[in-house]
């Protein structure tokens, strides 16, 4: 059986997820929020009917449950399928409400004892997530922790549990970091920030897996509350000739959107947010009339993918449509052609439109009725797939 991480794009790159008995570390660079990854993975497990065990080291168990709620996940709903191993209360001398408590959180042996206990007690293969491996390392020392990890992983393998660690790469010894990145886990997902480019963002990427091929790719993400980790596309452009339905398309796709409309036409920009199938995207809709071309040019920089919207009944505009692709300087970017207004009489079929536009054989042309949202999300899926295929940052 394979355990999904709850982040669809990551599962794809792990070839489905983490196989039972294997371990995964979310290896985060300082300054990047990584705990949400482990939380999302344990939440995925319990919401799919499995068992999830969360080992907390730096946070009060009650706070953990509150944190889950902030992401829109109610741990209480899953009863005893969600278990917290409390490695925090012992540090501050507080009483713990949890069933599993680590008596001396600054002793690796004491931690191992609690973890072995919970692994044995679990009647079925479970997902065990360590809230903060770095905290454990700070408390128990680097080499004692590394030894303990090997023991935990061996035990997990024996019981077919999946173990997931959140780890922040503080300046530990190079030896320790090399072990964490290199040999003690079956898989490593690195999480970092982009600071070199003009776009500032956070990315994740699979660095190592020992059960299949690694596809090296960095994927931008954003953390939503509620929602958790979403693959993030900071700019998807929606362009096309006048009156093709660009604004309608942006609004049909978006959970929230604003437009600058005057006299029924877009004069500046439509801006919307999409949250769909594990992807979050910001959508920029351009004006269509030629007199606004300078604005189209201004807005189209740094786009990751383009929707070209067409009125399927209006072949006269196809030349203008191709011209708009040129203005946006979209050469080489993934493009999806949206054949809008399919409900109107005289609408050309997607195939006829492809020929009319003289586009490549495999250029995706999607039939859409933006006013009733028909085909809108199908078009989004196709574009996202293309962006992810093309996509490294």
């Amino acid at each position: 059986m394979i355990i999904e991480t709850g982040i669809p794009a990551l599962d794809d790159h792990l070839h489905g997820g983490v196989p039972q008995g294997k371990s995964l570390v979310y290896y985060a660079y300082p300054g990047v929020e990584c705990n949400v990854f482990g939380m999302q993975t344990v939440h995925r497990a319990i919401s799919e009917g499995g068992r999830g065990i969360y080992v907390t080291s730096s946070t009060d168990p009650r706070m953990i449950r509150d944190l889950f709620k902030e992401f829109g996940w109610d741990a209480a709903e899953y009863g005893d399928r969600f278990v917290i191993v409390d490695g925090f209360s012992g540090l501050v001398g507080a009483d713990s409400p949890e069933q599993y408590v680590v008596s001396n959180p600054d002793d690796a042996g004491s931690l191992t004892q609690a973890i072995k206990q919970v692994m044995e007690d679990a009647r079925e293969p479970s997902v065990i997530v360590f809230e903060s491996l770095s905290t454990i390392m700070d408390l128990c020392g680097e080499s004692a922790t590394l030894d303990a990890i090997e023991e935990w992983n061996r035990y997990a393998m024996l019981y077919d549990h999946v173990v997931v660690y959140n780890f922040t790469a503080w300046p530990y010894s190079e030896d320790t970091l090399a072990h964490v990145k290199g040999d003690i886990f079956n898989s490593v997902v690195s999480i970092g920030g982009i600071t070199e480019k003009v776009i500032f963002g956070q990315y994740f990427g699979v660095r190592k897996i020992d059960w299949d091929e690694v596809t090296k790719k960095c994927i931008l993400f954003k953390v939503l509350k509620p929602g958790g980790v979403r693959v993030y596309l900071p700019k998807i452009l929606v362009t096309g000739p006048f009156d093709a339905g660009k604004s309608t398309f942006v609004h049909a796709l978006s959970t929230r959107a604003v437009s600058v409309d005057r006299l029924g036409t877009t004069v500046a920009l439509d801006h919307g947010h999409v949250d769909h199938r594990g992807f979050a995207a910001d959508i920029f809709g351009t004006p269509g009339q030629e007199r606004f071309d300078p604005i189209v040019k201004l807005l189209s920089g740094e786009a990751m993918g383009i929707f070209l919207i067409l009125d399927s009944t209006n072949t006269a505009d196809f030349v203008r449509a191709k011209h708009m692709l040129e203005i946006t300087e979209s050469m080489g970017l993934p493009v999806v052609i949206v054949a809008n207004k399919q409900d109107l009489e005289g609408a050309l079929t997607p195939e006829e439109i492809r020929r009319g536009l003289d586009m490549a054989h495999d250029a995706p042309v999607m039939p859409v009725v933006a006013t009733s949202r028909e085909g809108v999300f199908e078009a989004f899926d196709v574009l996202v797939d293309r962006v992810m295929e093309a996509g490294s940052i």
Binding site: G193, E196, V198, P234, K235, V258, D282, L298, L299
Partner: protein, 120 residues
């Protein structure tokens, strides 16, 4: 310090100017780089609109042979909005209360814009 952290510092310094309620740095093409907007709506949309505004103003003014505008100021009933280019790649935008005099705000905003330009 990473560039991103440096930009954050520029904004938090700018936010400390009493009159400024919210501020942000974005790319010229409307992508958010850094925002300091406590509970002021959606920063992504805000900067996308600001970039469009500044870009449109620059096109309008230079098309008429009046050169590149220094800034765009929007005066609304409930506040003011000032948008200023920060080099060829970025822009800075700030929000104030309606009654605020712009003198100090403009000086501080220009300083921040200069810093941003040098950081990128």
């Amino acid at each position: 310090m990473t560039t991103s952290e440096m930009l954050e510092k520029v904004l938090s310094d700018l936010g400390r100017v009493g009159e400024i309620e919210a501020c942000a740095i974005a790319t010229r093409d409307g992508l958010l780089m850094q925002a300091n907007m406590p509970a002021k709506g959606d920063p992504e949309t805000f900067v996308a609109m600001s970039a469009t505004m500044l870009g449109a103003a620059e096109t309008a003014s230079s098309e008429l042979g009046k050169g590149v505008p220094k800034r765009v100021i929007v005066e609304a009933d409930d506040g003011k909005l000032i948008c200023m280019g920060a080099g060829p790649k970025a822009l800075v935008v700030a929000m104030t209360a309606p009654e605020v005099g712009l003198g100090l705000v403009l000086v501080e905003l220009s300083k921040s814009a200069e810093k941003v330009e040098k950081l990128l």
